[in-house]
């Protein structure tokens, strides 16, 4: 498996009130062609920033992003604009992602117009094809405005727009967290189906481990801008090495009253990313933390085959 996307030592910094906020600190990841990499973490952990930094929508302050052998971090202007067509993005809020004053047909055709497909007939044919692929009836849908549709239908439209140019990599940023449970399953199944049909590579960003597990081959866990753990999905669920991964797993509410909720989960909340703890950023909530964790930033190292964790005292 060759890496389609490789992220090396990526750092994204914001200036917040004169202070530097490291939204993403020194993250390295690879996504193989045809693979789905799940990226998990709580709000403020930098997972969405990472997604946008890959597309250069937010310029990284350090590190490199290489897509299919081209270094995106070095591209500019026209070259970057052309490259972006091979990478697409799907957002959390499907309704806000659609221009409220343009018709669905217009919105889905927009990528074709931008890439210079002049022939109206061809545009319409391709719009109809992709709408059918995402399970919408083109005749009923094309002339309408976004507000006439439910969240789930809007997400289908967003997926259609992202797929019409047949991209290679799609970054899904919390694509189902704004949707109801029954609709969520439809969209997850649709993404899986689209992945197969269009031969996509997915970077799937979400806060819900169960949702990520349903679609991912490998999972990366982030906490306060840093990578905690990366590994094959089933292995990571069966034997989490990082205490934070274990905490996330325990915190998932299980729809079964015979499973009592885990008591006394790690107290506290993630500290402010403006003022992260020294050493390991999870140490303030970690039951295993000691002086080493405060002094030394743990490096990502291989715990088991293909499973990497950044922890001085890994579990298991």
């Amino acid at each position: 498996m060759t890496a389609l996307l490789s992220i090396e030592n990526l750092t994204v910094e914001y200036a917040v009130g004169g202070k530097a906020l490291f939204a993403v600190s020194d993250v390295s990841l690879e996504v193989g062609r045809g693979e789905t990499l799940g990226l998990v973490g709580e709000s403020g952990c930098g997972k969405s920033t990472l997604g946008r930094a890959v597309l250069q929508l937010r310029r990284p302050t350090g590190g490199r992003v290489t897509f299919d052998g081209t270094e995106l971090t070095r591209l500019d202007g026209e070259a970057l604009r052309l490259m972006r067509r091979r990478l697409q993005l799907i957002f959390q809020d499907p309704i806000a992602s659609l221009n409220p004053r343009r018709s669905i047909g217009d919105i889905v055709a927009e990528p074709l117009v931008i890439t210079g497909v002049v022939d109206r007939g061809e545009r319409e044919r391709r719009v109809r094809d992709v709408l059918a692929a995402v399970g919408l009836d083109a005749d009923l849908v094309m002339g309408r405005l976004p507000h006439e549709f439910s969240g789930g239908q809007c997400q289908r439209i967003c997926i259609a727009r992202a797929l019409i140019l047949e991209p290679e990599l799609v970054i899904c940023d919390e694509p189902v967290s704004a949707l109801d449970v029954s609709i969520r399953a439809q969209i997850l199944n649709l993404l899986e189906d689209m992945k197969r049909r269009y031969g996509l590579t997915l970077l799937f960003i979400a806060h819900d481990l169960a949702v990520v597990k349903a679609v991912s081959d490998r999972i990366a866990v982030m906490y306060l801008g840093r990578l905690c753990e990366v590994g094959p999905t089933e292995q990571l669920f069966a034997r989490p090495a990082h205490p934070y991964t274990a905490l996330l797993l325990e915190a998932i509410p299980v729809p079964d009253p015979t499973v009592k909720p885990a008591a006394n989960l790690a107290a506290g909340e993630p500290p402010s990313p403006l003022d992260p703890p020294s050493g390991c950023r999870f140490r303030t909530r970690c039951p295993r933390a000691d002086q080493t964790c405060a002094d030394v930033v743990p490096e990502l190292r291989e715990i088991a085959v293909g499973q990497f964790a950044a922890c001085h005292h890994p579990l298991g």
């Binding site: 709580e42 449970v181 439809q186 169960a210 669920f237 325990e250 998932i252 509410p253 729809p255 008591a263």
Partner: protein
Amino acid sequence: MTAPLLSVEGVSVELPTPRGALRAVDNVDLALAPGRTLGIVGESGCGKTMLSRAILQLLPKRARLGGRVMFAGRDLTNLPAEALRRLRGPELAVVFQDPMTSLNPVLTIGTQIIETLQAHLGMDAAAAATRGVELLAAVGIPAPAQRLRQYPHQLSGGMRQRVAIAIALSCEPKLLIADEPTTALDVTVQAQILDLLAREQQRRHMAMILITHDLGVVAGRTDEVAVMYAGRIVERAPTSRLFAGMRMPYTEALLAAIPKLDSPPHTPLPAIAGRPPDPTRPLAGCSFAPRCRYADGRCRAAKPPLGDPERAGTLYACWHPLGLSESASA
């Protein structure tokens, strides 16, 4: 079984819209005993929030309410505004989904807690301040005395929800309605807040209605669960019985649609096709029939009543309940 603290009898809520009346809540009956927890589960638009507003008598002005809401022997629907106001706080309290909007952004947390205590319990300022610190400590806020001087925006989402809970608990209510209290929070914080609610509820012997879209949240933390769909309660049962054997296909489908932690990646999820019906156009039959695998002509023609044909404490509204033979259900 003690006499119910709250009993909702045939409550309906209608909202006028440009496209006609929208029946947000349709003839709902509920009962809740003191100290018990009822989970109300449903997807967005199923009427669960409107039902909670109807119980609290906090419906939008234009809404039309039918039925009775009996709380501690009084009918809240025809209580004068002043009596209702006195009831909220010491008797009835609520925690909303978004603590940022339920807390006043320009007042300190201390002011908000202390004013509540002074208004409802007639405490003097010093006593109220002391009590405020105790309350914040009780909901797990570190350094509570300092927090009293802070504004809501200076706290994290989880801390704000703790403050909202502290305010709700400040007058020792008999019933707490928690409307999606953890939906806006991260998973690890969600577990903490749910633990906190459960702990305080037991300590105070308070009744609680936990409204959520997540079956996982109600599973471990409620005594009874009511599942709502399209404005109606479609299944209601003691929590353990419900999860042991669901009768209503909607409840089962809702549970099946949640990704399971123990199934391998790329397992297709049994999704529920379609979407909920348009609430301004009620169907003649069962509202779930258009999406139901088991639906037949009868389901589309006649609305199944909510009943307990097995006389076992499980109520459901379905012509073809699961886990039973067809003869037993008739």
